[in-house]
């Protein structure tokens, strides 16, 4: 894995034309995620119908890895049950930090294009931020940070 192969077609495409980018008219849950190390921030809004994510949107200021990760995340969780989204959050985090065995069963599908980030410890948080923020929104935490000590999503860099 080298740094360039992370910038694959699919990631560049989602960066250029992010899906579900913007805000929602009707949202039941909302969170803002910050990466204080680089100043990036991401707003995520979603609308839960019962236990199902009926709609989701994001916007913010971030690098290509973060924006593409957010874009692909929204397409992956839209219409899914909250519990399925939580499974994806857990698996994505494990993939990005290098603790997930991609040869075993998982639900990430095309999201595995981000697997290479595990070899770039300084970029792990860029990829994780949207998932981190989604987790916060689903749990009704309105602001979160990649550096929050008490956050269950806090990923120690270098454990890859």
């Amino acid at each position: 894995m080298n740094s360039k192969s992370l910038y694959q077609e699919v990631i560049l495409d989602h960066n250029k034309k992010p899906r579900n980018y913007g805000t929602l008219d009707k949202a039941s849950h909302h969170a803002v995620g910050h990466n204080p190390l680089c100043g990036d921030h991401l707003d995520i809004e979603l609308n839960l119908e019962g236990e199902r994510i009926d709609n989701i949107a994001f916007h913010g200021e971030s690098c290509a890895i973060c924006k593409a990760s957010a874009s692909m995340m929204t397409t992956a969780v839209k219409g899914k049950a909250r519990s399925d989204a939580e499974t994806l959050i857990k698996e994505f985090r494990e993939m990005a930090t290098g603790t997930l065995n991609l040869n075993e069963d998982h639900h990430l599908g095309r999201l595995t294009v981000f697997a290479g980030v595990r070899d770039l410890p300084t970029r792990v948080k860029c990829a994780i931020l949207p998932w981190h923020t989604l987790h916060a929104a689903l749990n009704s935490v309105t602001t979160t940070s990649t550096e929050a000590e008490d956050d269950p999503m806090h990923a120690a860099i270098g454990d890859a």
Binding site: Y7, N15, G39, A64
Partner: protein, 419 residues
């Protein structure tokens, strides 16, 4: 002979052979992602020449013991070398006396020493401290802590869009409550060289002492603390081709003597009883505990190395690198340089339309090029210039024109990936 010399091209008269210099730096032979390393993150930390590495090895293999203690051979040797290094640093910045040179762990530690030693003793409620928009967080946060503790106020010198201090505005900030000025010599994020001599003279005309954060000044230009007439000058070893964990605080003896100690412990005392402790004289009053002896001696070797090349020669060569890189980067569409001061060191901060600095940094790394991306510990500068983050290339005297070309072609590659 002089006539003939002056007729020679500058390249010959400068007698600066960069390939010869590069041979002294083993790390520059490294390959990164299969490409030769192009190290352009010198403002964060510089690399170490073999001469300094050898000095550290020699100390550790044949001279090490604790200093100022034993009567045995090794302790005497280590003490002599440590104090010898202090004198080298004294001459490096042209301090009057060696006791005006205090070894610290780095610039941050030096600034904190002044905040605790001078600030906490002399700054009172309602007093004002002048800083500038350009300051590194390490020259903001200690003063904020002091201001909070004492009920003092921070005043901030604004900058122009080019990243230059507005000196007239600086002068207007002074009033009867102004008690201290702390200003950086050179901006780490933009490369701006501040008119510190003029600023110091003005502050002194109002009876206000000045600390100069020289972290980015000392490595790139000859520093003469007597000529500047600064009251304090702080800098780090690891940006000067020396080791990490060592730095210097220069202070005028008269001020250092009046200050209270920062850290308490061994070496900084003359006598201790539970009733009363008598502090040692300067510089020892500020060097509690066993100092980083090896690092201090290594820093002495580093300034020997730089002095042998000559800081004026280094400045002149780095200016050529800056001019060439500025010209090359200006030709790239969609790239904007942040920080265009008339007087700069070889630092280029830039933003690229539609591409986040982190992506630029990662892709340049793929070309073997090391740059810094982010806010560079100067969030107020980023806020003022309305950029969330920048990519920064910072050059040293061991960088080459060919490396500038590699850097530029790397930026072109990034642009291709994102179109």
């Amino acid at each position: 002979m002089k006539l003939i010399d002056s007729a020679l091209k500058p390249e010959f008269t400068s007698m600066f052979d960069v390939e010869h210099i590069r041979a002294d730096f083993p790390i520059l032979k490294l390959q990164v992602e299969g490409k030769p390393l192009v190290y352009l993150d010198n403002a964060a930390s510089s690399q170490m020449p073999q001469q300094v590495i050898d000095r550290l090895v020699r100390y550790q293999t044949s001279e090490h013991a604790n200093i100022n203690r034993g009567v045995h051979y090794l302790s005497e040797t280590a003490t002599a070398e440590y104090e010898g290094s202090r004198r080298k640093l004294q001459h490096f910045i042209n301090a009057r006396e060696d006791r005006e040179v205090i070894f610290t762990s780095g610039t941050t530690d030096s600034i904190n020493l002044v905040m605790h030693g001078y600030g906490r003793k002399y700054i009172r409620a309602g007093d004002e401290i002048i800083l500038t928009t350009l300051e590194h967080h390490s020259n903001i946060v200690p003063w904020q802590m002091l201001a909070e503790e004492k009920g003092a106020k921070i005043r901030v010198v604004p900058i122009s869009d080019a990243g230059e201090l507005l000196v007239d505005e600086y002068k207007k900030l002074f009033n009867a409550r102004t008690k201290f000025v702390s200003v950086m010599h050179v901006s780490n994020a933009l490369g701006t060289v501040n008119p510190v001599k003029e600023m110091i003279a003005f502050a002194h005309s109002r009876g206000v002492p000045v600390l100069v954060d020289g972290a980015q000044g000392a490595p790139h230009m000859a520093v003469d603390v007597q000529d500047l007439d600064c009251d304090f000058y702080a800098f780090s070893g690891h940006k000067l081709c020396g080791p990490t964990g060592i730095g210097v605080l220069y202070g005028k003896a008269e001020l250092l003597e009046r200050m209270q100690p920062f850290k308490g412990g061994g070496d900084m005392i003359l006598s201790v009883t539970f009733e009363k402790t008598t502090y040692n004289s300067i510089p020892h009053k500020f060097e509690a505990g066993t100092p980083p002896i090896a690092a201090a001696i290594g820093l002495g070797a580093a300034v020997d190395y730089l002095s042998a090349i000559g800081l004026d020669t280094i400045s002149a060569y780095e200016l050529k690198l800056l001019n060439y890189a500025t010209e090359q980067i200006s030709n790239l569409p969609g790239v904007r340089i942040i920080g265009t001061a008339a007087r700069k060191t070889a630092v280029i901060s830039f933003v690229m339309e539609g591409v986040h600095p982190h992506d630029i940094g990662t892709l340049l790394n793929h070309e073997g090029v090391a740059v810094r991306t982010g806010h560079h510990c100067v969030q107020p500068v980023m806020l003022r210039l309305k950029v969330p983050a920048t990519t920064r290339a910072s050059f040293a005297f061991y960088n080459t024109m060919a490396e500038v070309d590699t850097f530029i072609s790397g930026i072109r590659t990034v642009q291709k990936v994102f179109t």
